[in-house]
Symmetry: D2
Subunit: 122 residues, 4 copies
Amino acid sequence: MTTTQARTEPEHAQGTDPHAGHAPAGHHGPHGYSAQKDAHLKRLRRIEGQIRGLQRMVDEDVYCIDVLTQVSASTKALQSFALSLLEEHLRHCVAAAAEEGGTELDAKVAEATAAISRLLRS
Amino acid sequence: MTTTQARTEPEHAQGTDPHAGHAPAGHHGPHGYSAQKDAHLKRLRRIEGQIRGLQRMVDEDVYCIDVLTQVSASTKALQSFALSLLEEHLRHCVAAAAEEGGTELDAKVAEATAAISRLLRS
Amino acid sequence: MTTTQARTEPEHAQGTDPHAGHAPAGHHGPHGYSAQKDAHLKRLRRIEGQIRGLQRMVDEDVYCIDVLTQVSASTKALQSFALSLLEEHLRHCVAAAAEEGGTELDAKVAEATAAISRLLRS
Amino acid sequence: MTTTQARTEPEHAQGTDPHAGHAPAGHHGPHGYSAQKDAHLKRLRRIEGQIRGLQRMVDEDVYCIDVLTQVSASTKALQSFALSLLEEHLRHCVAAAAEEGGTELDAKVAEATAAISRLLRS
């Protein structure tokens, strides 16, 4: 729940997003999400900690239902990470393709939709 | 499965998509998906038929597991419909906002991400 | 949200569930969920109404994001229906298999797990 | 995909499952899944490796869509782990409650259904 709520914070926290416009590629790396790299890595390390917590739970014979609750929390955290990546992708890569227009936009949108489809099926 | 595969067909079927560029709003309605209205309505009528099929199954005491299989198929069909709507939305509304740039793009991307989040949690 | 909360109500509402024990098959039909048939059918008719509402929304060019919100609500309602079916199935069919023991239980549990897996992937 | 297929293998691989019947609690720990502890831990360590792989990908500015594909794989692996836990839980705890009958079974089934609901919403 809290992780879900936290989803859009990294983006919105910086009211004056330096790459909301069209900062040079060199500024935030080749794919637009480098500027948020630290937030992403921190989030992933927390998920890694949750997975290690799951190992401890299994090792200590914690009641199955409680293990399942923790699995749900980890899955939610992963989905939440995916959504923040996706939001950046739409804001940078898809938007950049929209400015170029034509087939590039179509390709980017189809690619993003396929990624969302994989998230929905997982 | 087949419904999933069929997801992007309506768009791609028309190789020369008249509104891939920036057709006047009047041409394909206010929100970009009107041109595909018939495909959407057909898809929804098929889902409505699946829901009525579920009512028949329950009424005839069909084995629970078989009913659940049909529920999964209907849910997949709904997700698939959502993905095709979303793809159009990204291609038209988000792309249009990207051309305007600035806060409008941020707002549209945040709105689309929130919609994807609701799909993931449902 | 409300549909989710309502999930276990039909079962719990009837404090003295006549088939919580092991009523004869003739009493509640061949697969255990017939006693709740009315609740299931009512729920499915409501979902059918939601799907027809979606058709109206598409027909009237409602904004894509609002259509997507309604799709999420319908998917949630379907999942909720699936959970109530599954709960009955576990309480009746799986429990009956457990009393018989042996391979019948294994088969029923594997079958239920496969159904849950399909729900998760849809 | 492969992880999904592998879901029920640990259980089914051992054709002569020593606790398919009703082995004494001391034999396989307090909650029935201890006998499969090694398989569970191995699976979780693999998921932990996937999460570390995600950190490397973010650190090396891998293209967002490729990161998202790996997130989907990790989520699938977690769901797959949850399903194998759940299957054991149904086979042991729910089945044991079924033999006792009465309110204990109702409580266990409601608890399992709530856990499945959390998995579906995550």
